[in-house]
């Protein structure tokens, strides 16, 4: 049974009709053609589909559309603003904190959610928060460094 939904996606209001139980991941990727958010495990075990809903990280493969109603959704496509990369994106590039790049959008969104809450995370804070995001290429060491660099930039310190 389709219903009408309205939510904000990367700052823009979205109106769409769909079944309320469908997972946000598929609505983003198929209906809205925003393919930056990735399917990797489909059961909430890997973090590749991480997006933010009202600044909280959620696994979009486990997040029904109806729960997004009236909220603000942020995906990788909305992380940079006005053509400028977000400091996290810059830091991931600077540290080469990616290889195949498939887990990268989920990593960036997870890290962004962390820095919103905790602008000065310790290595342990990063590891604890990011533990659910898997990177098969094994870039964890560099991702930790990139998050630390981005945190310093966002605090206005020299990276």
């Amino acid at each position: 049974m389709e219903k009408n939904f309205r939510f904000k996606l990367n700052g823009k209001t979205i109106d769409l009709a769909s079944s309320p139980e469908r997972m946000l991941l598929w609505v983003l990727r198929s209906d809205l053609e925003l393919t930056g958010t990735k399917y990797s495990c489909g059961e909430g075990f890997c973090g590749a589909c991480t997006v933010l809903v009202d600044n909280e990280p959620v696994l979009s493969c486990q997040f029904p559309l109806k729960e997004a109603e009236g909220k603000e959704v942020l995906t990788i496509e909305g992380l940079g603003k006005n053509g400028e990369l977000h400091p996290l994106q810059d830091a991931f590039m600077q540290h080469n904190a990616l290889q195949c790049g498939f887990c990268t959008p989920g990593m960036l969104l997870g890290a962004y959610a962390l820095l919103l809450k905790n602008p000065e995370p310790s290595t342990k804070d990063i590891v604890d928060t990011m533990e659910g995001n898997l990177c098969r290429c094994g870039s964890y060491k560099r991702i930790i460094q990139a998050i630390q660099t981005a945190a310093r930039t966002m605090r206005g310190e020299r990276p």
């Binding site: 598929w26 198929s30 075990f45 940079g80 080469n96 590891v127 898997l134 870039s139 560099r142």
Partner: protein, 700 residues
């Protein structure tokens, strides 16, 4: 060889039509394996890559190689930019497109930089020579007074007199085939190659713009979900699809053995698939994780000699101490981040395929066959690939998508779920290694007798100075001996072989009363290997003692297809829960000339991190043909919290041509961790993965 002996998919003239105007240089890679394959398939053997200098001054390199995270997109561009004297950001790599790129056998085995790099350099040097020739004519300046820099050729004494590559390429249609080899630059003069360089694909990947196969969208495309048996060996008995038909917008296809549901939304297709009532003929198999090793032993064939020297019986007579040990490893999954996906669009008599594959030309041939199309009517495009590790050399999803596209008349995407990914993976084979070895009175290894049951023989050649050895392969990688598909897994064969070999060597070191470093140096003649060992030991900075020292230090070294490396690890074993914490890993690697030091370090770090998985947790559990691990909840791969302190040392060896670096460092991980665990607890682990249960058992 006469040209007319071959059927050419596309000849050079046709390629030229496709690439447009500019200056084009053809060349062939030196990979003997690829050359043979190309001949076998009837492709021209005289070129398999080319580069073009376009009218805009941009340089494109067309190659059938693909980028799956390993970073050749960047390292190959560096080699090209260096030799052609163009800025790196003017280089475009066109990869894995069967229409634009000449045939390539596939991307695996750490072969791209090693075999593709040197001829690419030659081609770029030739292109530069052509450009200087053209510039000389245009500027009326003798060639020897001209120099090229950053895409511009100018008069050495009068730099105002200059012309750009773009200007030279304008209106030109020059085709050259590399025969005479102009000199390439000595490494000392390099300014682009050999310098740490950031990934060229990073910006697309951090913005979400990078397209993987599953991200391609075509008007009217359908997502297909296919009915799968619950276990290997089970066959479909009966099926009722009526409930699935109730879902609005669903298409159901029953074609021979394939039952598929298609929908414009993948999740709706999945939902409809769940409504299909299917019964399968059960399959009984006695094979599971407990019984597999006995089965493998029983399936052994007479051994083929991989390599031998001297006389093993003579070596046994010379031995003062002998050692007889057996090592095991279980099936391991590739578990790529991106599950296999394919999209096929058929328009008239032409099919276009987007696929996550390491072998686009293999995919082209398979799709052509299933559609009944000539190969040149099938174009395979390889978008970014989210991990490969050997798991994407083949993929049934491509052929499935092609069949469904033909049957529905619409573009069809088949993207595997994680469960399908685990079910259809071609696992690293479970394997057994028997090693008998002996030491003489001066603690020299005098014999080595090696029986390899189904690991594959890569890296099983002894590199110690042993007078008498014999290495036997008891049936290759096993093929149909295994209860499901197996195949190449990052460093195929080597992970198992190095685990067994370097564990055995450690055991001998202890019996010799020597520390593991001292014993290895005592038994090595190979100066390159000694050098990587010393480099790793120096970086590690702590001294070894005879094991078990309680310190938890481990060491292993290997020669992976010409790349030498030594790895040292420090671990902590929790005596209460038998969990191992890897605190630090140091890896020194000699990979010959290094093109992108940053890229090599990334590969080593990735290998070390990924390798921890097969050390501790990665083991496919199965029973009655069922794959019991279906996702990352039970099949645990390394996480953030596992990450040790990782230090890499690139042992300088620029005189040697570049060797491979995507796989070598993962192959020593089993051994280095097993040796470190032994040093910590005094119990040797003979089976991978070293789960807490297995360590507990060893401790009790």
């Amino acid at each position: 060889m006469k040209e007319d002996e071959y059927h050419f998919t596309l000849d050079r003239r046709e390629f030229l039509k496709l690439v447009g105007s500019g200056i084009v240089v053809f060349f062939t890679t030196g990979d003997p394996f690829a050359l043979q394959q190309r001949r076998d398939r009837g492709y021209p053997a005289d070129f398999n890559a080319y580069l073009r200098i376009g009218e805009d001054g941009r340089v494109s390199c067309f190659t059938g190689k693909i980028e799956m995270g390993q970073g050749i997109h960047t390292s190959l561009a560096q080699m090209l930019a260096e030799e052609l004297d163009v800025p790196l950001d003017k280089v475009d790599m066109v990869m894995g497109d069967t229409d634009l790129c000449p045939y390539d056998g596939g991307t695996f085995g750490s072969r791209s930089t090693k075999y593709f790099g040197p001829p690419l350099r030659q081609a770029a040097a030739e292109a530069r020579a052509i450009l200087i020739q053209l510039a000389s004519e245009r500027l009326q300046v003798d060639q020897k007074n001209l120099v090229a820099k950053e895409g511009v050729i100018f008069h050495q004494q009068n730099p105002q007199k200059k012309i750009s590559y773009a200007q030279l390429a304008q209106g030109k249609k020059i085709e050259r085939h590399l025969e005479e080899k102009p000199p390439i630059k000595p490494y000392r003069n390099h300014t682009v190659s050999g310098r740490p360089t950031d990934r060229m694909d990073a910006r697309q990947k951090v913005t979400g713009e990078a397209k993987f196969t599953g991200d391609i969208r075509l008007p009217g495309m359908l997502h297909a979900k296919i009915l799968r048996p619950p276990a290997h060996g089970e066959t479909l008995k009966s099926v009722i699809v009526s409930a699935a038909k109730e879902i609005e917008g669903v298409t159901i296809i029953q074609d021979e053995d394939m039952i598929a549901v298609l929908h414009k939304y993948p999740d709706m297709a999945e939902q409809a698939l769940g409504l299909i009532d299917a019964r399968f003929e059960p399959f009984r198999s006695k094979l599971d994780n407990q019984t597999i090793f006995r089965h493998l032993k029983n399936s052994a064939q007479e051994g083929d000699v991989v390599t031998e020297k001297g006389n093993v019986e003579e070596g046994k007579r010379l031995s003062a101490k002998t050692f007889d040990k057996t090592y095991y490893n279980h099936y391991v999954a590739h578990a790529p981040s991106e599950p296999h996906a394919a999209l096929v669009n058929i328009e008239g008599n032409k099919a276009t395929v987007w696929a996550s594959t390491q072998s686009p030309f293999r995919a082209q041939a398979e799709v052509a066959q299933v559609l009944g199309f000539p190969q040149e009517k099938v174009r395979v495009i390889t978008p970014f690939v989210g991990c490969g590790f050997g798991g994407k050399n083949q993929g049934y999803q491509i052929v499935e998508a092609a069949r469904l596209a033909k049957l529905t008349g619409k573009p069809v995407q088949v993207a595997w779920s994680r469960k399908e990914e685990f079910f259809y993976d071609t696992f690293r084979p479970a394997a057994i290694i028997d090693i008998k070895s002996g030491l003489d009175g001066s603690n020299k290894i005098v014999f080595w007798e090696y029986r390899n049951y189904f690991a594959g023989d890569r890296s099983s050649q002894p590199f110690y100075d042993i007078p008498h050895f014999r290495v036997l392969s008891m049936g290759g990688r096993g093929g149909s001996v295994h209860p499901f598909g197996t195949g190449a897994w990052r460093g195929p064969g080597s992970n198992t072989n190095v685990f067994a070999m370097e564990s055995q060597v450690d055991g001998m070191a202890e019996a010799a009363g020597m520390d593991p470093l001292e014993f290895r140096l005592h038994n090595l003649d190979d100066e390159r290997m000694k050098r990587v060992l010393m480099a790793a030991a120096e970086k590690f900075g702590k001294s070894f003692s005879r094991a078990p020292s309680g310190k938890g230090y481990g060491l292993a070294c290997t020669d992976y297809l010409g790349t030498y490396l030594a790895t040292i690890a420090e671990v902590d074993v929790n005596k209460n829960n038998s969990e191992v914490r890897v605190k630090r890993v140091v890896c020194a690697q000699d990979t010959g000339e290094v093109i992108n030091p940053e890229g090599v370090r990334m590969q080593i770090e990735g290998c070390i991190t990924m390798g921890l998985g097969y050390c501790f947790t990665e083991e496919i559990r199965f029973s009655n043909g069922r794959i019991l691990d279906e996702n990352f909840d039970t099949y645990e791969i390394p996480r953030f919290s596992w990450t040790p302190q990782i230090e890499t040392v690139l042992v300088d060896n620029p005189e040697m041509p570049p060797q491979g670096c995507g796989e070598p460092a993962i192959t020593s991980m089993g051994a280095v961790i097993a040796n470190a665990v032994y040093d910590a607890i005094g119990k040797r682990m003979f089976t991978l993965p070293m789960t807490p249960d297995r360590i507990k058992e060893a401790l009790s």
